[in-house]
Amino acid sequence: MADDQAAGRTILVVGGGISGLTAAVEAAEVGYTVLLVEKEPQLGGRVSQHFQYFPKLCSPSCGLEINYQRIKNNPRIRVLTLAEVEAIIGQEGDFTVRIRQHPRFVTEKCTACGECGKACTALVSNPFNFGMDQVKAIRNSHAMAYPNWYFMDADYAASAEARSLPCPVGAIDPDMTATVLEEKVGSIVWATGWQPYDAEKIHPYGFGRHANVSTNMRFERLANSYGPTAGRLLRPSDGKEVKKIAFIQCAGSRDHNHLPFCSRVCCLASMKQATYVREQYPDAQITIYYIDLRAMDRYEGFQKKVETDPGITWIKSKPARIDEDPVSKDPIVIGENTLTGIRYADSYDLVVLATGMEPTSATTARVPGNNAAYDEYGFVVKGGQVLSSGCAAAPLDVAGAVQASTAVALKAIQAAAKRG
């Protein structure tokens, strides 16, 4: 029988992506109280930006929907969004954490009816779509967002228009300020996930300089039916249909100049994105430039399936650089095919850089205080006061993140039982 005292202790999960969500619901369904803290206005993290998962080519929203249902049905789980952990004091079994909740400028009365959005004239660059389009300054971050509760950009909140937005239930509060809470928790799971590696740093590939060099996450947003182009795969410079496309694997990964580790998912993600292209353009030419194709264990079945597409060319090569045709803006991929020794300069409509996952725990989401152990890449590893799972701990695919987070939920339960 679980230690009755432990049942009273709360587990803090930091990060509301698929890893944090999983750790939270799994622990709560064993009977523990969970406080889930997410820095964005809504849950879902990176997976909510994906269009489909490999290998089943299914929507992330399906699993997220079940997890949100589990949260809704479970009064043991308390969710705080727009919240960050500022301080951690204490040890396993007995922590005090200080959480800063940034103002949402919209109260819980919000019914997501959309009246304010209709009246709002201010457009901002849409971070959910990596700046590829603009959205209203008051909104839900995406269609299936949870909590289904609008938020306002902080800059807009200071404007006159913000004060005069219509709201049938009076939920708009531009004067809202940040609040600071102190909570006592028994254990902490750091599940702050990852951010896409900044492709501009990979200078030879020209991201940021060449219009038609994109990244895997941006391409994923393009493919998403609720994305900036309603799912149409069109290239940035002129909106042309992408009929000839290249994926460059290990862009900024396995590379001591960038991320030395391998992000595990990018090979499979590019294969998956190749199916997007094929689905939309039956005669598109697709090329995948790779060093090693990493379709781990049972995902090999997915690679085999994608390999049956005769319109995909697989070239074992890490391209040296990408040039741009000044007139057509076609990107030109230059390198050496290591299996034939032949040098190539191939032009495409669009090039997608399969960039890697940089753990936010290395940069923007460091664990406060001296409470975490990190490896050389900034992943949170065993040995510190906080537990971690998902991509905060190691590069993982979704099933792996859920697996690890289910395991960490148990460790969190055990840790919460420790006497302070």
Binding site: C250, D255, I291, K318, P319, E336, T338
Partner: protein, 196 residues
């Protein structure tokens, strides 16, 4: 025998930065980056795999490593951080020392004869003489042709006082010390190459 590591191990030990050859993961970025690439018989990464593969003759007789102009494109991009420029120069030197390098290969000839001869005879680079020797290396006719091709550059440099048309013949002041250093370095190198 393929993948007999005795050649590789000698290279790792005795060629400049040779031990880095172990680290290549055959991605091909160096090959794609090299501006002289189309002129190489084997790209850098091919050379490395050949070294590891025990293909001594192919590597050492190849003109490839003599093509490197030290642009450093490869080093900057290599994901494993191999100091490719240095490795390649090292292999060239190694081939030369082991007696495999083709003496008439252009860069070899320039480096080991013309350039070396020029420096060692005076203790400094005598540009005019060096240039003339290089231009006329294939004979009078080709030398004149080259000179004519480059005449605008030469004229420009003369006018801006960047070219001294008078060939320098005199030795540097510390010439004796200089030759002593060269001799000592050669002695140390010979010892190392003998496997000390």
């Amino acid at each position: 025998m393929a993948y007999d590591l005795s050649f590789a191990q000698d290279v790792y030990k005795n060629s400049e930065m040779g031990h880095w050859i172990k680290m290549c993961k055959q991605c091909g970025v160096c090959a794609g980056s090299c501006p002289l690439g189309p002129h190489w018989e084997y790209s850098p990464r091919q050379l490395f795999q050949l070294v590891r593969g025990g293909k001594k003759e192919e590597v050492l007789k190849s003109s490839s490593m003599w093509m490197c102009t030290s642009c450093y494109n490869c080093i900057v991009r290599c994901p494993r951080g191999l100091p490719i420029t240095h490795i390649v120069h090292g292999l060239a030197r190694y081939a030369s020392v082991k007696g495999y390098a083709d003496p008439d290969q252009v860069t070899n000839r320039f480096a080991t004869k013309i350039f070396w001869g020029n420096i060692v005879s005076t203790g400094r680079v005598g540009e005019a003489l060096l240039t003339m020797r290089l231009y006329f290396v294939d004979g009078l006719a080709s030398g004149i042709k080259r000179g004519l091709e480059m005449k605008d550059s030469a004229l420009g440099m003369l006018m801006t006082k960047r070219l001294n048309p008078i060939p320098i013949r005199g030795k540097i002041k510390g010439y004796a010390g200089f030759t002593a250093m060269i001799a000592k370095a050669q002695e140390l190198e010979a010892k190392r190459e003998a496997g000390a």
